[in-house]
């Protein structure tokens, strides 16, 4: 059975509907990234799960227990859910150790002390127990927040854009480290972000939110290479969209000519749609009789991004040929793969 089930969830904030008909599942020990542009309802969903917002329809079930529905709202303090807030929400009047022990009020004194020590070691902050929050760096504060949220062994951990206040230089390292910690503790977690790179690096599975619904959920590769719609495709990275007509179950006709699909298409012949081609799914070769012309280039080290014009169509192409000059004529072809057609 899954850890968390959310079905047909609807939520309002200040009278405005934010979430409507949202479904989401989380497996035991899974880290799920909630990804979406600002204002799509990510934080609202997180707050609904934590019981900080009521739901108007649907329900949220954790470990088989109904937490929220239109009729019931289990108080936040009885849910046993840990939350890492964007600003960490560390208590400025308490020391690091007192912050970590905040949720351990009903524990035995000795056990609580041992748990705090264990947590401090886990997040590698041993020796800073008696510091106050303002004496710590941003990364250290982040670690305190993690230690505090994990100390009371929550059933589920929610992270609200936890890395947005961290320097980009240390962000990657910290993310890997925290992922390691969650893994070692066997924690199920939901992680909210608007940056796809963070979601790719941190999560096992991701759910993309759009207009208060889950637009698509699944492993990162599946979403990137087989997006269900144009919104998901756009959100996860740039691409070229070509008018395409299905010619046979394995072939479409486009302005670039016929393109073969590695798997069977879901649409019948004569269907007219849009074909998604990621920049790296196109290949270019210098060819003086080629149909394309290089109109722009951006060098990026091991590869180069080009704009190539083929007749009236402008294409973005990522290529290992880093030496092509502006105005160079090239031959353009799609690399063999399972085509994505909307």
């Amino acid at each position: 059975m899954s850890k968390l089930q959310i079905q047909q969830l609807a939520c309002q904030y200040q009278g405005k509907p934010i979430l409507a008909g949202l479904d989401l599942m989380l497996q035991e020990n899974e880290i799920l990234a909630l990804l979406g542009p600002s204002g799509c309802g990510k934080t609202t969903l997180l707050r609904a799960i934590a019981g900080l917002l009521p739901v108007t329809e649907g329900h949220i079930v954790l470990d088989g227990e109904i937490l929220s529905s239109a009729q019931t709202l289990l108080p936040t303090e009885q849910r046993g859910i840990g939350v890492i807030f964007q600003d960490y929400a560390l208590f400025p009047h308490l020391t690091v150790a007192e912050n970590v022990a905040f949720g351990l009020r009903h524990w035995d004194k000795g056990e609580a002390r041992a748990r705090v020590a264990e947590m401090m070691a886990l997040v590698k902050l041993d020796g800073l127990e008696d510091r106050y929050i303002h004496q710590l760096s941003g990364g250290q504060q982040q670690r305190v927040a993690i230690a505090r949220a994990l100390a009371y062994k929550p059933r589920l951990l929610l992270l609200d854009e936890p890395f947005s206040n961290i320097d980009s230089q240390v962000r990657g390292e910290l993310m890997l480290e925290i992922r390691q910690i969650l893994r070692s503790q066997g924690i199920s977690a939901i992680f909210v972000t608007h940056a796809k790179e963070e979601a790719f690096a941190f999560a096992d599975r991701m759910a993309i939110l759009h207009d208060g619904k889950v637009a698509q959920a699944g492993p990162a590769e599946a979403l990137y290479y087989r997006p269900a719609n144009r919104f998901v495709a756009d959100f996860l990275g740039g691409g070229n969209y070509l008018d395409a007509t299905v010619a046979s179950p394995n072939e479409v006709h486009t302005p670039l000519g016929a393109i073969q699909s590695a798997s069977e298409l879901r649409y019948p012949p004569k269907y007219e749609g849009t074909l998604l081609l990621r920049p790296q799914q196109l290949a270019i070769e210098p060819d003086n009789d080629g149909s394309g012309v290089v109109t722009e280039r951006r060098f990026a080290g091991t590869y180069c991004d080009y704009e190539v014009k083929v007749g009236p169509v402008a294409l973005s192409v990522r290529s290992g040929h880093t030496g092509l000059a502006l105005g160079q004529r090239v031959a353009v072809a799609a690399l063999p793969h399972a085509l994505v057609l909307f």
Binding site: L73, P75, G80, V83, D87, F91
Partner: protein, 543 residues
Amino acid sequence: MIQTLSRRWSLGGYLTVAVLLLPLAALIFQSLDPDQAVFDHLRQTVLADYVINTVLLILMVACGALALGLPAAWLVAMCRFPGQRVFQWALLLPLAMPAYIVAYVYTDLLDYAGPVQRALREFMGWSGPTDYLFPEIRSLGGAALMLALVLFPYVFMLVRTAFLEQASNLIQASRTLGCTPTQSFFRLSLPLARPAIVVGLSLVAMETLADFATVHYFAVNTLTTAVYDTWLGFGSMASAARLSTLMLLVIAVLMFAERFARARQERFQKAEGKSEDYAYELRGWRAWLATGYCSLLLGLSFVLPALILLDYAWHYFDPSALRHFGQYSWNSLLISTLVAVATVMIALGLQYLARISPRRWDRLPSQLAGFGYALPGTVLAIGVLIPLIAADFAINDLYQWLERPLPGLVLSGSLVALAFGYTVRFLAVALGAVENSFKRISPSLDMAAATMGQGPFGILRRVHFPLVRRGMLAAGLIVFIEAMKELPAALLLKPIGFETLATYVYQFVSDEMLELGALPALVIVLVGLVPVIFLNRSLEQAH
């Protein structure tokens, strides 16, 4: 916000604010009483004079405060001259000086037997009052001058801030567009500071309307003294209530003007693009003129009265006249502490409810509860007495029915009336301070505490209370001091035989013997300096 907050919290908030609103409701209700014989009598005889006096007084004080405060504000904010840094805070000092003490001191100085007129007569060789014209200090104009002398700091403070927050590049731009400093003042600085001026003048007008002691001492009849006299002289609660509602109308107009101007002020004082401070360096006679003006203002409004008080205290020290000093100080201390604790606790409860409740209407109690600050002390006192006297009658009826000995006026004739009145009057101070402290706590702290198993009480006790403790202390201190100084409400609400420091000093003033009461008067001034220091510090922090 705590979505699952029990409705009992809301109920508590609404009950509290209902009790606090009782005086206002009672005033309005009582003024509808059809028995208006005394009021009709007033209307046929003196009411018109009272209203005219009140309006004239407000206008004159407003003009006076503007004439004194505006130049000082501009000089201190926009110019550099010897002493400018000292005047920044020193010109706030008059706020600590009760107007009736200033009035007494100047009467002593300027009336016929006073040193000024005596010296004039000697110098000019005049022999009697018929030989020369000297303006009578005990008059409407005199009262207006006294009030303007202690109230101008409101204008000074707000307008100075407005000038400071005007982006200096605006002034530089006006100079490049061909304005002289004078033109740039009249075409730019002054129009931009207009909302601040209106706010300052509304505060001055409200304080003037609330003033009882100065006009009473000068025997100038205004609506405030009329309320006092109708109740204590004629014993007509209904007329006092009707006069009070008349004053409420004036207050409503003033408050509306203030709110409106504040909204505009926020737009005008965005202080975007504020660069380095831009100031005119004054030299030569201009610098001396600026220093001279500010010194004269400070001298007349604070230094001179304070020195004269010190002189009284030194020369007329008489332990037998001050034998009650200790007892009355203790009374003041007791009641002020009580009120400080009560207001801060109520403010904490109401603001906490407003913060955590998921129901939008639960913000209302904290917004309504502060209304008492706008009521003049006399009006508030009448409003407090009406329900308490009614409750006392009900209690006595109950005892009579039970055939038990009658308890007497257990509410209206005891410290309950005074404590309740002060609480209503000063709650706004505590509400504002607690709200400011709360604003500095990120809402995610509440949520974090809730996720870690804390209920509403736990969050208040373990997170908010430790974090707002300092703010609450400061709020309590200011309420304490305001309660120490409060006079008009105390005159009407104090139990018989109970004196506070302020009523004690006022007794000396109205008996024309302040010389003997100079020591307690100095204590009031010294105590009043503390909030001025607070005010100055918060102004300094803003810059």
